[in-house]
């Protein structure tokens, strides 16, 4: 999931809107503060992406006949979907060992927050966030490389 600039602005917007809709749907949630709000947003974005990835994977299995006409975009989609799912699994594993580092990844990657903001949300120093990020990302990268190789 290296940074690629692909022309999917519309879809990005759609995703963000979807996240937004789910966010405001949490009617009963009383927003304790900004931090709480950001944390929930990141979780929601993660859930949405995973849902889409799952649906894609499911469609692939179900629609075998259609795969004949799959073009490049579909290949990208399917690769990206499975990466998303593996990242999600790895993050879950990470959370069992080190919940804070897992949350740093969630806030940064899914929530789009910068280190300073994450430090605010988690009430730790910015240096700690940087260190957590480095470690978590390296470990996730390793997990994904290994699972891809298998």
């Amino acid at each position: 999931m290296s940074r690629e600039r692909q022309g999917h602005t519309l879809q990005t917007t759609a995703l963000i809107n979807e996240a937004y809709v789910r966010l405001v749907d949490q009617k009963n949630v009383h927003w304790a503060n900004r931090s709480h709000f950001f944390a929930i947003s990141a979780q929601i974005m993660r859930r949405i992406l995973i849902d889409h990835a799952r649906r894609n994977a499911y469609a692939k299995r179900g629609g075998g006949a259609q795969q004949v006409s799959l073009d490049e975009a579909a290949t990208v989609t399917s690769a990206r979907g499975s990466e998303m799912l593996r990242l999600d699994e790895a993050l879950k594993t990470l959370a069992t060992m080190d919940p804070r580092r897992s949350q740093v990844v969630e806030l940064r990657y899914f929530g789009g927050l910068n280190n300073e903001e994450i430090a605010g949300v988690l009430n730790v120093s910015e240096n700690t966030v940087t260190r957590d990020w480095n470690m978590a990302r390296a470990w996730l990268y390793q997990q994904l490389s290994e699972s891809a190789a298998n």
Partner: protein
């Protein structure tokens, strides 16, 4: 891996990462001792760290990376090709593809007109809820008839494809224009005024757009006329009251968007939308405010890397002042600030009020400009766009000299079996036996195309006119009665429009409102014409035909003099006229359109009808 092992690894990793070469090796040897597996774990992680950094692994936003998940190969492939036919539509080109489907340029072979054909993607046409939205869009937008709102011609389903045919605008979205160019203050204001004019019409019909943003605003290349698109998210406001009567009400009342579910682009969302609270017309005011801010400064007033950042800003952040480098009048900043008040109650309450402030600022800027550069070369096109002309609906006679001549030159039109022009119509004899009023009118048009006027033709329909087109009205009745024709001017900020009396006039019909049966009058009289200028708008000509003289109108006949040119320069009188028209236009006459003639029939002794002349 146990949490303890993980902690151990991460502690070593954290320090090792800041060391390199021999120092790192020495540190690892020291920390791991004989635990080879620990050392190998840490080294693997360090190597992964290097690669992850180099590849910028998860370095972007998940929303960008995952966007591709929403694209399916079917969506990427256009379903119609050039030359293909969908019903009576011949596909000429693909214009684009978006979230809801594809848009094609097509020719409607029935009417020989070019249209934009929006074809819905299959997963939408199979989705009940979204289909509902699509139908609403078609319904809502087609119930609005205003030059700044995209016209919808038809919607339906052919060969399993759901489509919407709309007016084709050869232009670009405000978004693409903003991406390309930095707008001048005057142009910014002009665009905002036109968007507000569209919204004014929508709001009058109790329709809130809810998704005003530069992507939904198009600017036509030819004349820079602005069109607002996509009333798909619109919904009728809840506070609709029983006293409001509008013809389109039925078309739009029965639908609602799902409560609590927010649709729209976050950056232009109002605080009340952001809270998923009830929204009304004032949410559109906010969105225009955001757009105006963006046009002036090139920046978003509220926005962050994620939707939650943006949301927090919309709700809490004070509006940032225009950057110092932006050369915008202080008044514009005040206007934007008022539009972007967090509380709807502190905002402009109507699109009209908002537009009034912009128009008056525009006038000030023009005055200033003409003082600044006095020897500016005359430029016809520019003059045509002059906003100092506050009349949005400009309906000018060919030239001022002709205005006067025409106005006082109106005379009784003599049909083939002409009467003498000096005939004084006798007092109303026994009036027609029918308990109803009947009036006919037709419009003679001379189109200005390719630099010259086409031969005139006569029609019944009220079509859209182009700049420089000329029209003349022919009004008559099989009945005898009193005829009055009023031109309703723009309101320009006041609640009461200014009317001009066009018939009777000092010279036409010998100054009498009394029309004989089968007598026809031309407005203006030959050889004069009304000519449209370049400013888009709708001109309303009220036809009032009564069995008896109408007291409210008799009292303003004195304004039909050479000095006043028919303009009723008396607000009390204008108010009386407005009340009169409002009271009596509650019931609409039955209209029957023939090939070249429209027949209006209304029960009772009085008939009222506004002829709408719309022009781009």
């Amino acid at each position: 891996m146990t949490p303890e092992r993980w902690q151990q690894i991460s502690r070593i990793f954290k320090s090792a990462i800041s060391l390199d070469g021999a120092a790192r090796a020495a540190y690892l040897a020291n920390q791991c001792g004989t635990d080879e597996s620990l050392r190998s774990e840490v080294e693997k992680l360090l190597s992964s760290h290097r690669q992850a950094s180099a590849e910028d692994f998860i370095g972007g936003r998940a929303a960008d990376d995952g966007a591709v998940l929403l694209v399916t190969p079917e969506e990427l492939k256009p379903r119609l090709e050039k030359g293909q036919k969908l019903g009576s539509y011949l596909i000429l080109d693909q214009l684009g593809a978006g979230g809801m489907g594809e848009v094609y340029l097509a020719k409607d072979s029935r009417l020989e007109r070019t249209v934009a054909l929006k074809v819905l993607s299959p997963d939408i046409s199979e989705d009940q809820r979204r289909m509902q939205r699509f139908r609403q869009e078609a319904k809502v937008a087609s119930s609005l008839n205003q030059p700044n709102i995209l016209t919808i011609f038809e919607s339906g389903e052919i060969d399993g494809l759901t489509f919407l045919a709309t007016e084709f605008i050869d232009g670009e979205t405000l978004r693409s224009y903003l991406n390309r160019e930095r707008l001048k203050t005057a142009e910014t204001i002009d665009i905002a005024i036109q968007v507000l004019t569209a919204l004014e019409a929508a709001h009058e019909a109790r329709i809130v757009h809810r998704d005003i943003k530069p992507e939904n605003v198009m600017i036509r290349h030819r004349d820079r006329v602005v069109k607002v698109l996509d009333f798909g998210l619109a919904k009728v406001t809840e506070k609709r009251t029983a006293t409001q009567h509008d013809l389109d009400a039925e078309a739009v009342t029965e639908f609602k968007t799902t409560p609590g579910v927010l649709m729209g682009t976050i950056n232009y969302m109002s605080p009340e939308q952001a809270r998923a609270a009830t929204v009304d017309e004032r949410t559109d005011i906010w969105s225009v405010g955001v757009m105006l801010y963006e046009m002036v400064t090139g920046l978003m007033p509220f926005g962050g890397p994620t939707s939650s950042h943006t949301l927090v800003q919309i709700l809490d952040k004070e509006l940032p002042a225009f950057p110092k480098v932006v050369d915008a009048p202080a008044e514009l900043q005040r206007i934007v600030r008022k539009a972007l008040a967090k509380s709807p109650d502190e905002r402009y309450q109507t699109a009209k009020d908002f537009a009034i402030d912009l128009k008056s600022l525009r006038r000030q800027l023009d005055v200033k400009r003409s003082v600044d550069d006095t020897d500016q070369e005359p430029d016809d096109k520019r003059a045509g766009k002059e906003p100092s002309k506050t009349r949005v609906l400009v309906f000018a006679l060919v030239a001022m000299a002709i205005v006067t001549a025409a106005f006082f030159g109106w005379s009784v039109w003599r049909a083939a079996r002409a009467r003498s022009s000096s005939v004084v119509i006798p007092a109303p004899g026994p009036v027609t036996p029918q308990p109803e009023r009947r009036l006919t009118y037709s419009i003679t048009v001379q189109e200005f195309r390719n630099g010259k006027y086409e031969p005139p033709y006569t029609m019944a329909a009220e079509v859209s006119f182009e700049p420089k087109d000329r029209v003349r009205l022919n009004v008559g009745s099989p009945q005898t009665g009193y005829l009055y024709i009023l031109n309703e001017g723009p309101r320009d900020g006041s609640a009461v429009p200014e009317y001009s009396i066009m018939f009777p006039s000092a010279s036409a019909n010998n100054g009498s409102p009394l029309l004989a049966a089968e007598q026809h009058i031309l407005i203006p009289a030959e050889p004069h014409w009304f000519q449209f200028d370049t400013q888009a708008g709708v001109e309303r000509l009220w036809l009032i035909f009564s069995e008896d003289a109408v007291a409210e109108l008799e009292s303003v006949r004195r304004f039909a003099s050479k000095e006043t040119q028919g303009v009723i320069a008396d607000m009390t009188q204008n108010k009386l006229i407005q009340d009169f028209l409002t009271t009596h236009s509650a019931t609409k006459p039955e209209t029957e359109k023939g090939e070249t003639l429209t027949t209006l029939t209304m029960p009772g002794k009085l008939l009222l009808y506004p002829v709408r002349l719309e022009h781009h």
